[in-house]
Symmetry: C3
Subunit: 132 residues, 3 copies
């Protein structure tokens, strides 16, 4: 059995984040799938997914880590090369198990969408639940 949900988010210009855990979990609930896996996919090249703790202080630390990719360096690609490079520090896809109808995520694992682009964007996230 396969159930798909498409979520839409409006981001602020980067570096900024949105916690999308609740929305992903609601697609899983709607699917009525009890055992299987959930694939979360972000069809974007200047944003990324992070599975980590949603702590305001920690997210500031992550922000500084992404800034290791310098905005002021000279790049070949015009305007937002650093947005692409930062996105590659994260990933576009995450797949985790579903057991007894519930996402198997760690206590501190939130699904966080990081925007790295230089302008606010509309981002869609495709959630595919597969199983029984």
């Amino acid at each position: 059995m396969i159930h798909r949900g498409v979520l839409e988010f409006s981001t602020k210009e980067g570096i900024s984040f949105i916690d999308i855990t609740k929305e992903v979990l609601s697609v899983i609930a709607k699917s009525r799938i009890r055992e299987g896996t959930c694939n979360v996919f972000l069809p974007a090249t200047t944003a990324g997914l992070l599975l980590n703790e949603k702590d305001r202080m920690l997210l500031e630390d992550f922000k500084k880590m992404f800034m290791l990719i310098d905005e002021n360096k000279i790049y070949h690609h015009p305007s937002n090369a650093f947005s692409h490079l930062r996105a590659s520090m994260l990933r576009s896809d995450v797949t985790f198990p579903i057991a007894d109808g519930k996402a198997v995520l760690g206590t501190w694992q939130s699904i966080i969408l990081w925007e790295f682009d230089v302008e606010p964007r509309k981002r869609s996230v495709v959630v595919t639940v597969t199983g029984e």
Copy 2:
């Protein structure tokens, strides 16, 4: 068909590693699934999965790479921010094919669990085999 196995590991404080390949393969064998995929998921935010060569010398090189995230810098998040940041250099999930009842892994690909936290931890790894 879906088969799930949960593995438990005791880690030493970070930066340390455990090769979990054998245990993952035994879940696949138990599943009796011949064709499909295997998802390995680590529900943790201060540890990560690496698919690479298990060579003692190389693992020392990896350790030094993780130390590029400095322990002595001042972070916003108390006590173990660098453990979270190091974990984000790796991933929480890996999905690979199963063909003819066997994991399709490269000759040198071992599944390595890296602990980055400041204390020894109990880590569970959820292995989900999907297929026919």
Copy 3:
């Protein structure tokens, strides 16, 4: 339903890249699966997969980013430690949705195989399509 295709590529010594999107899409088309997911897996430890924009200028910027892992440093592992470390900046697996028989990839998302090894290599990529 499961359909698997194995693709073969000849790479130039690293740092070099091949766009493998077209070949992956042709495995999906052959599968005749309409709804599901596609797992792309690279059984290698000195090469990696990147899902990002295939723009010649941007790929030069990526190349420089990979070079942050210095070739001239002294490593424990002989000859190609930096190839392994660079590979770990990317991933060996990507899983994305299939909807209405088509890969759900963003407008700018190409599947790019990066070679980091010190010699030309034959690389196989295993594409597993799962669904209905």
